[in-house]
């Protein structure tokens, strides 16, 4: 089962719980088919760098999961159908990416992550 990471940007118009409910709908759709969610990260409302569909802020949500390959297409059809989702981006994670996410979760970057920091030393 390949590991994937999906970022979705929801429209800011909907209230907090409808946003949560929309996200819950997608994670349920994932777990129904047997995908295993590794991590869910909610960034909440963030300012967009450029207006998307005339909106300047977006509700960001990140999901990292392990899923069979054919599920991604179904998921993206759902995203296209749902008008609450402004943008979505699904990435297949390679071993460097999963290692990076693992280190990020374990807080290896908590100290000021200057690029010059001896990250390699860890």
């Amino acid at each position: 089962m390949q590991q994937y990471e999906t970022v979705i940007v929801l429209t800011p118009l909907l209230s907090e719980e409808t946003a949560k409910e929309a996200i819950a709908k997608y994670s349920k759709l994932l777990t129904d088919v047997g995908a295993e969610i590794v991590q869910e990260d909610n960034w909440g409302l963030k300012k967009l760098a450029y207006p998307i569909q005339k909106k300047t802020t977006g509700y960001y949500h990140l999901t990292e999961y392990r899923a069979p390959g054919d599920l991604i297409n179904k998921l993206e059809i759902e995203f296209r159908r749902d008008e609450r989702v402004l943008r979505f981006l699904t990435i297949a994670l390679d071993k460097h990416a999963t290692a990076y996410n693992e280190k990020k979760r374990s807080g290896a970057f908590n100290q000021k992550k200057t690029v010059k920091a001896e990250e390699a030393a860890k």
Partner: protein
């Protein structure tokens, strides 16, 4: 009239000959996260365009990863496609 300024036709090329190095190879960074916008700002000029390798000195392999990450960040609205004063 005697002390008029010497006008260079083309700007004098100040060659900063400090050895450029690929920061990714040097620090052992293997993955460039497209969600980390302020890290990507280092590789983008103030118009939001990706900096060329000859200025940043990154190796070809990581320059492609940087360009890929910047384009992904632009897609989800973390980085602008074009702007005038980014930094």
């Amino acid at each position: 009239m005697a002390n008029e300024q010497i006008q260079y036709v083309t700007a004098p090329k100040v060659d900063d000959n400090r050895k450029k190095y690929c920061r990714f190879k040097k620090n052992g960074i293997k993955y460039i996260d497209y969600k980390d916008a302020n890290f990507l700002l280092k590789f983008v000029n103030d118009q939001g365009k990706v900096l060329p390798r000859r200025l940043t000195g990154t190796s070809l392999k990581f320059q492609r990863k940087v360009a890929q990450a910047v384009k992904r960040a632009r897609h989800i609205g973390l980085l602008p496609y074009v702007t005038d004063s980014l930094k």
